[in-house]
């Protein structure tokens, strides 16, 4: 009850106000569809195209998911190695920094050539690379949060490396890993979608956005954008849910 009043109501109200203002603006100033479609028009378009939206979201979502899973696994794995082998960390620091600043638009064409333009792999790779960076950085940071007193304790218990990793290092890093995953979740959707602009099989949200825009069908383009927002949100919420399940008790 209280949570609804404090957490849910304000953003929903703000959203409604903004949408209403948008609708009124478009109606009152008779702004043509081609300049700015009204929320009502977008909604109508969305409702009319639900099956298409759904199948497109499925294509993009699947790529994002594969990228998310593979990128996260690689990110966590590399972070584990970097945390335990200092040389590896030093070797990879500039590479990760570089990876973090490569625009998808530059990467996508290259990856399409390397992996093939007829399969979804290149898109999944694009998503995976965008996921890798935040997951790697957060995990690495998390793995370095081990408190000295815990490290001492493990040493005092003559715990093996693996035991220390399992009982102290990983659990300490866990919230950080999930933070990385949360960021990565919606990022993976955007990356997979943007990658569609540069080639690959048709059928995803990205290709349909471009197709609609090319015909000035902005209401439909927006309905695809809307679907991609919903998809991104779903990914985010799923990451949040996994986090809540995995970190049942979040130490203050």
């Amino acid at each position: 009850m209280n949570v609804i009043a404090r957490r849910i109501l304000p953003p929903v109200l703000l959203g409604i106000v903004v949408l209403a203002a948008w609708q009124i603006l478009v109606t009152a100033l008779a702004i043509p569809q081609i300049v700015l479609p009204s929320p009502a028009a977008i909604l109508a378009e969305t409702l009319a195209y639900i099956p298409v939206l759904f199948s497109a979201a499925l294509v993009t979502g699947w790529n994002a998911l594969v990228g998310l899973v593979v990128g996260s696994l690689l990110g966590i794995g590399f972070a584990l190695v970097a945390a335990s082998i200092r040389v590896f960390d030093e070797l990879t620091t500039p590479l990760v920094a570089a990876l973090a600043v490569i625009p998808i638009v530059a990467l996508a064409p290259v990856l399409y050539t390397m992996y093939g333009a007829d399969v979804q792999s290149a898109r999944q790779a694009v998503a995976g690379i965008s996921v890798f960076v935040p997951v790697f950085l957060n995990t690495l940071r998390g793995l370095r949060q081990t408190r000295p007193v815990h490290r001492d304790l493990m040493r005092a218990y003559a715990a093996t490396r693996w035991q220390a990793m399992r009982t102290v290092t990983l659990p300490t890093a866990r919230p950080f890993i999930f933070t990385g995953l949360r960021i990565a979740s919606s990022l993976s959707v955007i990356a997979a979608l943007v990658a569609e602009y540069f080639g690959g099989p048709r059928g995803g949200l990205g290709t349909f956005i471009t197709a609609s825009v090319a015909g000035s069908d902005y209401a439909r383009a927006w309905s695809y954008v809307l679907a991609s927002i919903v998809l991104g949100l779903l990914f985010y919420l799923a990451a949040l849910a996994v986090e809540t399940l995995a970190v049942r008790h979040r130490p203050a």
Binding site: L95, A106, M114, Y115, N138, S228, I229
Partner: protein
Amino acid sequence: MSEHTTATAIAEHSAGPAAALTTPTREGSGRARRLLMGLLGVLAVGVLWEAYKFLGPDDGVVVAGVRILPRTTDIAMPHLWDMAIRMTEPVTRAEGADLLWVATAKAAAFSLGVAALSWVIGVTVGLALALLMQRLRTAESAILPWVVLSQTVPLIALAPLVRNWGSKLSLGPISWENWMSVAVIASYLAFFPVAVGALRGLKSPDAIHADLLRSYAASWWQTLIRLRLPASVPYLLPALRLAAANAVIGTVVAEVSIGLRGGIGRMILEFAQSAAGDPPKSWAPIFGAICLGLLAAGAVALLGLALRRYRRGEEPA
């Protein structure tokens, strides 16, 4: 969506202030060593590239119908030396054409300019939002979810719209230019980490500090200047670095989308035309983009150096 989790997301991502766990012995010899190791790392990737290109099958490694490792043809993976040599040759045979690396540097400089402006806009907007959210709890709960949601919008889809709307604007004598659209799109990416990071930073002072200032009957403004802003620096700097990277990425994407002439994005578009016949050429803008991003991140690192008084107790990065 939980307030805590959303608010922490980016700031944590971007390495909030680390505990005062300084290991002083590490630092002194570190700098030169890190540089050397970094170079070695880059070298290692180069060796890996060539080694895989040499050993790997032309059609890549395909497992169960999925290509796990890339193709190794000259088109897919040009030799590094070919890329390097191509860099020193003119862009085209046309008279007066720049050398490729010169053209790339020029394009990078152009994009950097736009990105810098986007960064400034993004940081300003992000800070303003953070202040608003810090000041008013209702504003925070109303805005923050939308701020998070804003980042699920594929900005590439917005680019043509922004250009369309921008062209409707004319601010007195100043007319809307395409590079402004690019800046708007890039700042849309840049504002997010700042808003979230700054909010976290502004809320970072211990309760005891807030109490102290309250006991001094300090005004909100005094508290902001003396306490909240300085305390937020360790959160802000990683956010600024992220914003810089995002500004660069956003600039390049928007340049591609809008076709703004002069920058790296445009170069990607143009060189794609000869990607098949002249594969090493299309790598130039990629290296340009990387240098650009690293340069931007480096600039923020300098800023961090200037603000190091506010980062005491942070683990040296």
